[in-house]
Symmetry: C2
Subunit: 162 residues, 2 copies
């Protein structure tokens, strides 16, 4: 099966977590005597389970070629995980509706607009980072701490993106 | 007095917090079957005091003109605050050595290299965001929660950057 690539919107992505951007922000206000607009509280950082703490990392990604075969999904049962591109370049996000073992028909695929990041809610199945451009850097906010925090499900069916 | 603008390095900035970049990262390793390099744990996010939680925001900044007069500094006694540019464009950081009321001679000024962010450690005095380009967006990681989290010190002396 071939997944349809949908545009990333707050509404469509709501079951999976947060879209991190300015255009869809519910709240913003002016600070610093007019020198900045604060787009406020854009993601639920959920990393405190079992004594966890927020980690800030940069992922330097190699590009994937489309069509891309989705052979597996992973989830982090103890934490959210946010990806924000450090240049306004689109990337692709593959997620599945919540549940113990998503079927191929449960998989959704989104392409970002450029100046957009995502935050996977705790436990949301997703494919690893899919960058489309060479040496693209992403700020990643996830969890440090004890505990097993990665489940994987494999797919033998042919599932293609793009 | 006129502040000297120094290049931002991990070593020079260490008294004030973290430089968030790949080049100076102490630890990095390959993940996602070779499709990403993880530059690991780049900033100490210190926001849990008094029941605080991490907030993720975007600041859309208007450019400042240099030379810029430093009329005040602020600090957040309950939290760190990180600024990561969402395009690899330099910006200017003004901080002061820790203490209750920094003197003008205690103020330091740094210019980033482009693909660099900073994280002010909890309680570090700093000037608000100094962007140099039009409509520059920054990811900001700070604190949500109760409590008074901003102190300000004013300067009547002429202190200039740039």
């Amino acid at each position: 099966m071939k997944l349809t690539i949908e545009p990333l919107t707050h509404e469509a992505f709501a079951p999976f977590g947060d879209v991190i951007d300015c255009d869809g922000a519910a709240r913003h206000y002016t600070i610093n005597e007019g020198y900045a607009e604060r787009y406020h509280d854009l993601a639920t950082i959920d990393v405190a389970a079992d004594g966890g703490r927020p980690l800030v990392n940069i992922f330097r990604a190699k590009p994937r070629m489309l069509p891309l075969r989705i052979t597996m999904l992973e989830r982090h049962p103890l934490s959210s995980q946010a990806f924000i591109p450090l240049a306004p370049v689109p990337f692709v996000v593959v997620v599945a509706t919540p549940g113990p073992a998503p079927q191929p028909r449960d998989i959704r695929c989104f392409k970002t607009r450029g100046a957009q990041g995502v935050n996977y809610a705790r436990g949301i199945w997703h494919f690893p980072l899919i960058a489309l451009e060479p040496a693209q850097d992403f700020l990643v906010i996830d969890r440090g701490g004890q505990g097993e925090n990665c489940d994987v499900v494999d797919y033998s069916e042919l599932i293609l993106v793009g």
